[in-house]
């Protein structure tokens, strides 16, 4: 018999494909909508559609499709993202929103390595995001360092400052470690505010990215169609998001991911089986901060402006709530949750001022009724679709 049993037992591609297609159309409709009533109708329709899918038991089929066919669906998801960007090719506002979603996703993916896998709480996520942004502000203004390298340096600096913070964090446990990171978030904001070199409370301008002589603030024109300059950043953002996603995935599906899970779930047992607890916590924290820092560095260039008020403890809480909302340890969940947390308040102008109230209610609802998040993390598969 030469029948390929493995392939025949894999979950079908179609449910995942349909979901992505519907989600893309829905997202475009939501982003294009201007009328507040229409936006509310769309949001209600979206919620009802998800609840209905749950009611008719379609969700397990979708998640199995994603679990078994992740590589193919990942490529389709990139295509869908590009389709959204193509549709809004000349709309600065929407493109900026999409880029914000992507970079927040990248930062939350970094947080996911720390908190989701290693269980190291980090309530200073936005601070390290800010470290990246300030790095690009200073380096782009005062030096001729190539801007791609500036992104890497932003990541490295966030990792470096993070490892200084680690010294007290590793000496404390549980809630106390969390309090240390909160203290750091407050400390960094105050430091930035009183520091004249870094612009004080007014912040700094960030010169636009310029890669290989191509300024990212140039509007593009292809075949007579004018494109928004944000598309430059969009391309870089997609690369970053894909890179972070693949990193998180490979990390989870390796012995390192297993180590991190083991130390999060039971430090005592893990140490009795040879795990160097401190070493793996450092690895997770440093890698996570590196990812957060890179995202922050690019975000600084996109926004062309950095100020202490953009990287506060409250912003760190948003990153943590995105992780809780999406599903701790679940990269797809992170992206979905970021879309909700960033886009809904932006489109629904009426709730703008109440956004924190909304986040709080959303997180409480999720913790009460779906503690594992919107898209719960599935059990580890080292190679999707692999059968013994």
């Amino acid at each position: 018999m030469t029948v390929d049993h493995d392939a025949s037992r894999r979950a079908p591609l179609l449910p995942g494909l349909l979901t992505l297609a519907l989600a893309t159309v829905y997202l475009i409709a939501l982003l294009a909508a201007e009328n507040q009533t229409w936006i509310i109708v769309l949001l209600v329709a979206g919620t009802v559609a998800v609840l209905a899918a749950g009611w008719f038991n379609l969700l397990p089929r979708i998640s199995r499709s994603f679990a078994d066919r992740e590589d193919a669906l990942g490529v389709v998801a990139i295509a869908a993202l590009c389709a959204v960007a193509a549709y809004f090719h000349d709309d600065h506002f929407v493109l900026l929103l999409v880029i914000t979603v992507m970079l927040y996703s990248v930062a939350t993916l970094g947080l996911n390595i720390q908190f989701g896998y290693a269980g190291v709480l980090n309530f200073a996520g936005a601070s390290f995001f800010g470290v990246g942004a300030y790095t690009s502000a200073v380096l782009n203004t005062h030096t001729a360092v190539p801007h791609l390298l500036v992104l890497v340096i932003g990541g490295l600096l966030a990792a470096l400052i993070g490892s200084l913070l680690l010294l007290p964090v590793l000496r404390t446990r549980g809630h106390y470690a969390a309090v240390v990171t909160i203290a750091f978030a407050l400390l960094l904001k105050t430091f930035l505010e009183v520091n004249d070199v870094l612009g004080g409370p007014q912040g700094l301008q960030v010169p636009a990215a310029n890669i290989l002589g191509w300024s990212f603030n140039n509007n593009i024109e292809i075949g007579g169609v004018a494109l928004s300059f944000y598309l430059n950043y969009f391309v870089l953002g997609v690369l970053l998001l894909v890179g972070a996603f693949v990193l998180v995935r490979r990390l989870e599906r390796s012995w390192i991911g297993l180590n991190l899970d083991a130390l999060r779930l039971d430090e005592t047992a893990a140490s009795c089986f040879g795990l160097n607890i401190v070493r793996w916590k450092i690895v997770a924290f440093v890698i996570g901060n590196f990812v957060i820092g890179i995202a922050g560095a690019l975000f600084g260039m996109v926004g062309s402006f950095v100020a202490p008020n953009n990287y506060t403890f409250a912003d760190s809480l948003i990153l943590v709530s995105v992780l809780l909302l999406g599903g701790i340890g679940s990269p797809w969940g992170v992206v979905v949750a970021t879309i909700i947390v960033v886009i809904v308040p932006e489109k629904l102008q009426t709730i703008q001022e109440y956004r924190f109230l909304l986040y709080a209610l959303l997180v409480i609802a999720v913790l009460l009724y779906r503690p594992e998040g919107l898209l719960p993390r599935p059990v580890r598969r080292y190679f999707p679709g692999w059968r013994p």
Partner: protein, 257 residues
């Protein structure tokens, strides 16, 4: 016979309580030693001191000739000592395979580059270990070997114990410390589990076991020798039948008239 584990004058105090009181204990290679005694007599503390979870307050532990007193738990594991816990310490959300692999830490390549970038080499190591885990679990219960990718959370107590023992055995340790493997199980389940342990030992000739147990049937059946503790001190030592007839031991368990 050569000595594998040797504790000399081992002492551990918790505040005013002396949990281990200058305990001398020797385990020889390929022995199965039973460690018995009333509740609170220091059996689990002995395991915790040997494996480095509690630092000793006095005395020494030598393993295979090397001094492992106050060594960190991971150093003790690397030297070749594995253990199970009295209350199951599996990672419930993880799969059976993941839990068994936690025990194989020292044989898995932990390099960043290997794990993240050379996925082909990683896949080979993964497949080899998958087969090894299947083979080991197959000894205990062939049915479990086919369910390696399922989470541990849904399994009954006896299967969790089996997995815990497999986690301790996968790295092929020289010394296995079993802390009350029968806790929370029925009489029949305990008998089943002991059969499995004896089978494992017959397969790998180079395995020494120290077992803490309250089921005297188990102790009688599988141990070559027993050590009885009371208030952290050794009060008797020898084959089970001799020890069980010892007056001091009976007093420790039943009290003095």
């Amino acid at each position: 016979m050569t000595v594998l584990l040797e504790a000399r004058g081992l002492t551990k105090r918790f505040g005013g309580l002396t949990a281990l009181d200058s305990l001398d204990l020797t385990v020889e290679r390929n022995e199965i030693v039973g460690l018995i005694g009333p509740n609170g007599s220091g059996k689990t503390t002995f395991f915790n001191v040997v494996t480095g979870l509690y630092p000793a307050d006095g005395g020494s532990v030598r393993f295979g000739g090397a001094d492992i007193t106050r060594a960190a738990p991971r150093k003790v594991y690397e030297a070749g000592i594995s253990r199970t816990f009295q209350r199951s310490r599996l990672s419930l959300p993880l799969t059976i395979f993941d839990n068994v692999m936690i025990g194989n830490h020292k044989n898995l390549n932990q390099g960043l580059w290997f794990n993240l970038m050379s996925r082909k080499a990683f896949k080979r190591q993964f497949e080899d270990n998958y087969r090894a885990a299947q083979a080991l679990l197959g000894v205990f219960k062939p049915e479990l070997a086919g369910r390696l990718s399922e989470p541990v959370a849904g399994l009954p107590m006896i299967d969790r114990r089996r997995i815990e023992i497999c986690r301790a055995l996968i790295s092929e340790p020289q010394l296995l410390l079993l802390d009350e493997p029968s806790a929370g199980m029925t009489h029949d389940e305990t008998t089943e589990l002991m059969d499995d342990i004896l089978q494992i030992r017959d397969r790998s000739k180079n395995l020494t076991i120290v077992i803490v147990e309250h089921e005297m049937g188990v102790i009688e059946r599988i141990t070559n020798r027993c050590v009885v503790l009371n208030f952290g001190r050794k009060i008797a030592e020898g084959p089970y039948r001799e020890v069980a007839a010892d007056r001091q031991v009976q007093e420790a368990y039943l009290g003095v008239e």
